[in-house]
């Protein structure tokens, strides 16, 4: 084992908790401490845009690991604690109150921050981004006000966060408009036919969808409260609540200031190692260097847990590269999207199942190679696709598109 001294983990989210538990599972017996800047201990983020915002869960149900569970594993937890600097020579971090804490190994699991809308009114009252439990609670409170006063909701950004919030708002009976700058929803991650399908899904649930929307400003009343969103063509969408979901930036400032290699995130290898051998990083804050030299940024639960395990192993002097097929999911209305693989660069697609039935899978191809599969209410297809992609097996598009063909028969025995 390469480290015996204290390991500090900056962050208390999914990647941070996973790293801490993987250190214990790997036999590390020294001090492990989570330093979280939120007032809450570790909690699940995925339900924030859905069940939590809908008021279907209480705070205790959102908890990822109870304090006694962390205590049982001798994992320290400091909440409301912000790390302001890393001294790599002295090997200590500085907290916002000036305290310094020494480390033998340091884990950066600092997450990401939603991008602010760089337009007039972008910081007005009633304009929210969604990242934390407190953000989600504030949005839910404002939704309650909108219900009472019959005010509409405007969502800026037709990505996963925006569409999940739109779905939750519609379930509450709110009037919802989604403004998306691109010509289609989820354009960077989904095949065009799935973008169209999502557009129909949301329209079918009563969402007003505006594609190619060029926003000019958020307008406010004399008290600075947002009252609507104006497009460049002059169209005005009144709003009692504006939710902005236009992507995130990796929280790499701390690493950057300490001189670690950063490029749209903290640059790590497949094992979560940064450019400093005593420092690893995991989760949304990272940009992973792939074998071909390109950088991959993923924001997902799986990325956080896999990189957490890799990062813990790296600190313990072991190689545990993250090589599994990336996967992701999104719940909107009664539809579960499950994605496997990375579809960037896809040239053509095959569809298994009937799109109109609401249960189907889209397979992404580049030449003969299967890149990814996106399943709607088709978990079996999704899990099978993960196995195919993990094994590097590409069915022909004809096989993928033939629901009668057993794709499992292509897997190595």
């Amino acid at each position: 084992m390469s480290i015996t001294g204290p390991i500090l983990i900056v962050g208390a989210g999914q990647a941070a908790v996973q790293t801490a538990e993987a250190l214990r599972a790997g036999g590390f017996e020294g001090p492990v401490t989570l330093l979280g800047d939120e007032p809450h201990g570790p909690y699940h983020r995925p339900p924030l845009s859905k069940a939590w915002m809908a008021g279907e869960m209480d705070a205790a149900q959102l908890v990822m690991r109870a304090p006694e569970m962390l205590a049982r594993k001798n994992i320290g937890l400091h909440t409301g604690t912000r790390v302001t600097a890393i001294d790599r020579t002295a090997k200590h971090v500085t907290l916002s109150d000036g305290t310094t804490l020494p480390y033998a190994g340091l884990v950066l699991a600092t997450g990401a921050t939603p991008r602010a809308l760089p337009l007039p009114g972008g910081n007005a009252q009633g304009v929210y981004a969604l990242r934390s439990r407190d953000d989600a609670s504030a949005i839910a409170e404002r939704m309650a006000v909108c219900i009472e006063r019959q005010l509409p909701v405007v969502v800026i950004g037709g990505g996963f966060i925006g569409l999940e919030v739109a779905s939750t708002a519609r379930k509450k009976g709110l009037t919802v408009t989604v403004l998306e700058a691109a010509p289609r929803l989820l354009g960077r991650v989904l095949a065009p036919m799935l973008s169209d399908w999502y557009a129909e899904l949301h329209r079918g649930h009563g969402v007003q969808l505006v594609l190619g929307a060029q926003i000019a400003e958020i307008i406010t009343d004399h008290e600075g409260q947002a009252t609507g969103v104006r497009l460049q063509d002059g169209t005005l969408y009144p709003a009692g609540l504006v939710v902005v979901g236009i992507g995130v930036n990796a929280n790499d400032e701390l690493a950057r200031a300490a001189g670690l290699a950063c490029e749209r995130g903290i640059v790590v290898d497949a094992c979560g190692r940064t450019s400093d051998p005593s420092i690893v990083a995991a989760g949304d804050c990272t940009a992973r260097r792939l074998a071909d030299g390109s950088l991959l940024r993923l924001e997902s639960v799986q990325n956080a847990t896999e990189q957490g395990k890799s990062a813990a192993a790296a600190l313990l002097g072991q190689e545990r590269p993250f090589t599994a097929t990336p996967w992701f999911w999104s719940d909107q209305y009664d539809k579960k999207l499950q994605m496997a693989g990375l579809s960037m660069g896809a040239e053509h697609w095959a569809v298994r199942g009937d799109i109109s039935s609401g249960s189907f899978t889209v397979y992404h191809y580049k030449g003969d190679k299967l890149l990814a599969a996106d399943s709607i209410n088709a978990s079996r297809d999704h899990l099978q696709a993960r196995k195919l992609l993990d094994a590097g097996v590409s069915p022909t598009p004809q096989q993928a598109g033939d629901a009668g063909f057993d794709l499992n028969s292509l897997l190595p025995r």
Binding site: H44, Q61, R65, A66, V301, Q338, L383
Partner: protein, 107 residues
């Protein structure tokens, strides 16, 4: 409310009083019971809250959805006829006294 007993793979047994509507996954993770991970937060998307339900009580629990059945095909440990995902089972008075066993591995 229901008292649910979790038996971990090492034999350790813990009984938890769960409010109605709580999932058995939430009951485990918030009460410090190892052996259930619940990576996805209860979205039926990760299959890391696999459990074995007492055979005689299976009838007290609504049957698994298509989605859950598909996820169960991919659990890390042995799948048995009484395999379920703990995130999909909600506490109610009907489940009083239920015992679930946890597999040795979840991933």
């Amino acid at each position: 409310m229901a008292n649910i007993t979790y038996v971990e793979a090492n034999g350790q047994s813990t009984t938890v009083n769960l409010p109605d509507g709580w999932s058995l996954m939430q009951g485990a993770t918030t009460n410090g019971i190892d052996g259930i991970i619940g990576e996805c937060g209860g979205s039926c998307a990760c299959a890391t809250c696999h459990c074995y339900v007492e055979e005689s009580r299976l009838g007290d629990i609504p049957p698994a959805s298509e989605n859950e059945l598909a996820m169960l095909e991919n659990v890390a440990d042995e799948r048995r006829p009484n395999s379920r995902l703990a995130c999909q089972i909600k506490a109610s008075p009907k489940l009083e006294g239920l015992i679930i066993s946890l597999p040795a591995c979840q991933e």
